[in-house]
């Protein structure tokens, strides 16, 4: 089939109503779609950047404050011996009878501080207890925010720390565990801590004075972090007039092309049909 430029223009002019209809429909569609697209893009952006890791249970930090005391054997004399054993550098009266209860109270403080200097050894003891109990590490989170079970015994040093002594109080902090597990671990810590520092002469007493469980802040997934980098928050709704004008121009071109293509296809099918009929005849 052959067409001149005028033939093509004639085809388009004859189908002017289709062109007008297509332009109007697409322009209207563009105005509606642009709003919908903007709202959708905004919602998608907000959803993508706010995606957080969903843990199966609430994970958080448990901070427990203790009043720390130790009790010596009934006799002050036993306390005197305990002090001498623990702190040979400490200046103590040579005469045991001069070691009064008041003096004893005064000298307690260094004992407290010495007990926090070997926390690594304490944690090792607690780890041994945990290994025997065969407690497992909590699941880890992969880059998509999916929870993946972790195969391995709970690592105490990753979840427990002891805050430095202030006066006669100190804290045991347990982090990145759920409340139930934290409480159980706390009991073990408390028990092992007291036992580690007790001996024949002194017995450690821990009196809980405060306890707080603070949930971990929600972590964004790696996808959320990536989305925040690569996505852009839609700035503002597109202008109606600008959208309509661009849609009108482009849809006009599209309508012209579509009319020509459809005309070509229909004509070509007619030609093929005629050719087949001629060959059959």
């Amino acid at each position: 089939m052959e067409y001149s430029v005028f033939d093509l223009l004639k085809i388009l002019i004859r189908k002017w109503y289709i062109i007008v209809a297509v332009v109007l429909v697409i322009t209207l569609l563009a105005v509606l779609l642009s709003y919908h697209s903007y709202n959708n893009a905004l919602a998608t952006y907000n959803e993508a950047v706010s995606e957080t890791v969903k843990y199966p249970t609430e994970i958080g930090k448990m901070t427990v404050t203790y009043h720390y005391d130790y009790e010596a054997d009934d006799s002050v004399g036993a306390a005197f011996d305990a002090l001498k054993a623990l702190h040979p550098e400490m200046e103590l009266p040579t005469d045991e009878e001069k070691f009064t209860a008041a003096l004893f109270e005064e000298k307690k403080l260094p004992i407290y501080s010495s007990l926090t200097s070997n926390m690594g050894a304490v944690i090792a003891v607690i780890q041994g207890e945990i290994d025997e109990l065969e407690w497992q590490e909590p699941p880890i989170v992969d880059k998509n925010g999916d929870i993946v079970p972790y195969e391995g015994t709970l690592i105490v040093s990753s979840h427990v720390s002891f805050a430095p002594l202030v006066g006669d109080t100190f804290q045991i902090i347990i982090f990145d565990l759920d409340k139930d597990t934290a409480n159980k671990l706390l009991e073990v810590c408390q028990e092992q801590f007291a036992e580690f520092h007790s001996d024949d002469l002194i017995a450690i007493e821990l009196t809980q004075t405060a306890s707080e469980f603070e949930r971990n802040p929600e972590q964004p997934t790696l996808n959320a972090a990536l989305s925040e980098t690569v996505m852009t928050k839609p700035e503002g709704r597109p202008g109606i007039i600008r959208t309509a004008c661009i849609a009108a121009v482009l849809s006009f071109a599209l309508a012209c092309v579509c009319i020509l293509v459809v005309t070509f296809v229909l004509e070509s099918k007619k030609v093929t049909r005629n050719k087949d009929e001629d060959s059959q005849a």
């Binding site: 067409y3 430029v5 563009a30 779609l33 690569v230």
Partner: protein, 458 residues
């Protein structure tokens, strides 16, 4: 002695000619069998090249070697099924283009899928789309359906000539002339960073360099006007020196090469044989000249950059846009038409690069239409683009055959090569693929096999 050498040469020439004639006779007698043999050799060569060259040199950047037996069997079955559906005929432009897409895009993806342990779902989507194309293009060409636009070729030639000259001068004025410095392939990146064009000119430049000049180079070859052809090639090289676009330097090599080889009437088979031979040579170059520039550069350019890296990128696009929101055509002309909001702060290639761990906006990861269409609309997008390409090729088929075969094959093979690295809609519009079809409609005539002169002699 001179007579002896001449005599010996004549003997060898006769021997080689006799062997070649017998080979050609065998090939012509056993067309289908020779296609299958070449197809199988190509598959083996591709796998071998991936393992011993591609992965060996580029594993750090994604071409990992992690073969999976199940995937290998599946990919081989898909390869054989697609090869079964591919038209096994010569002198058919669309048949060649389908084979070209197969060797350049699909087969490397199948190899990478099996040997790099890639995603099965995506590979199945790609296979479904390509098989659909092959089924839609199985019929015979119907030349009576071709449309032509008459009486306008003269004006078009003048207009295009003006466009070429105008583009040269505007580009020269805008970019300056770097001279031979442009052949420094490191410096050209610096050149390109400093180039910017006024609104719309980039499109004109693209059409002139990727459509109009190649079209008229082929036109000159067809009309045996070699001086004009050489002048046009020089203009294309000039454009490369003005813009630093490597593609412009190399685009005419496949165009002219395919045009010449198509005259042998065994273009498809030559392509397969040539690629198998090329891979073998490259593997040897890599192994024996690994420490030299040639031993590094050629495998990088041919095996990695052209064949397997685009395959890797398509899977990367799938991985990225399976997790991030789809684009829904909001980044192109459809988005402009419907006022769609583009959700990203960079191009899709830049987003994928960031998703792979790179710094956002620092580099662009190109991908072919099978990857880009997934980013647009998922599997539906892939189907739509595959159908659009299939219908385009169906329309193109009406113009092929006879003397036109070489011309059409050479012209449109460039677009199939581009589609391994670029989006379909971009290639159709700003890439000039539609304009090429329009030029065919203008310059070909209904009852004649050859192109008409664009300009009457004054």
């Amino acid at each position: 002695m001179h007579t002896n050498i001449k005599h010996r040469y004549t003997q060898v020439k006769a021997y080689v000619e006799e062997r070649l004639t017998r080979l050609l006779q065998w090939v012509e007698k056993h067309q289908t069998r020779s296609f299958w043999l070449l197809g199988i050799f190509y598959k083996i060569a591709l796998d071998f090249t991936y393992i011993y060259v591609g992965s060996a040199s580029y594993a750090y950047a994604g071409l990992i070697l992690s073969p999976n037996a199940y995937k290998y069997i599946l990919s081989t079955l898909i390869y054989l099924l697609m090869f079964r559906l591919l038209p096994k005929k010569e002198m058919d432009a669309v048949a060649f283009l389908l084979h070209l897409q197969f060797v350049l895009t699909v087969a490397p993806m199948l190899t990478f899928y099996a040997l790099g342990d890639q995603n099965t779902t995506y590979m199945m989507m790609v296979s479904a789309c390509v098989i659909l194309q092959l089924l839609l293009l199985r019929g015979e060409a119907k030349p009576e359906r071709a449309c032509y636009i008459k009486n306008v070729s003269n004006y078009m030639t003048v207009l295009l000539g003006i466009a070429v000259f105008t583009t040269v001068f505007v580009t020269l004025f805008n970019n300056g002339f770097e001279g031979l410095k442009a052949f420094d392939f490191v410096y050209i990146y610096e050149m390109r960073e400093n180039i910017s064009y006024f609104a719309g000119f980039a499109y004109l430049l693209g059409w002139v360099t990727k459509t109009i000049i190649p079209f008229f180079v082929l036109w000159c070859l067809q009309k045996k006007q070699y001086k004009l052809c050489a002048a046009l090639v020089a203009v294309e090289v000039l454009f490369f020196m003005l813009t630093g676009e490597k593609f412009l330097l190399f685009i005419l090599v496949p165009v002219i090469g395919i045009y010449i080889l198509s005259k042998t009437k065994h273009l498809v088979k030559l392509m397969y044989a040539g690629l198998v031979l090329a891979f073998l040579v490259i593997a040897m170059a890599y192994y024996f000249m690994k420490t030299t520039t040639v031993g590094i550069w050629i495998p990088q350019l041919v095996v990695v950059r052209t064949i397997f890296h685009p395959a890797d990128n398509k899977f990367n696009f799938y991985e990225c846009f399976s997790e991030l929101p789809k684009i829904h055509f909001s980044d192109g002309i459809i988005g402009k038409m419907f006022g769609l909001t583009y959700p990203y702060a960079g191009s899709s290639g830049q987003v994928v690069y960031a998703h792979m761990g790179g710094k956002f906006l620092s580099a662009n990861m190109n991908t072919g239409y099978l990857g880009e269409s997934y980013a647009q609309l998922g599997f539906l997008g892939m189907l739509i683009m595959s159908l659009v390409l299939a219908f385009f090729l169906r329309a193109l088929r009406c113009y092929g055959g006879g003397e036109r075969f070489s011309f059409i094959t050479a012209l449109f093979s460039v677009y199939i090569i581009i589609l391994n690295d670029g989006a379909l809609l971009t290639t159709l519009f700003s890439g000039g693929m539609l304009i090429s079809l329009l030029l065919l409609m203008i310059y070909f005539k209904k009852d004649e096999e050859v192109l008409q002169n664009g300009i009457q002699r004054i």
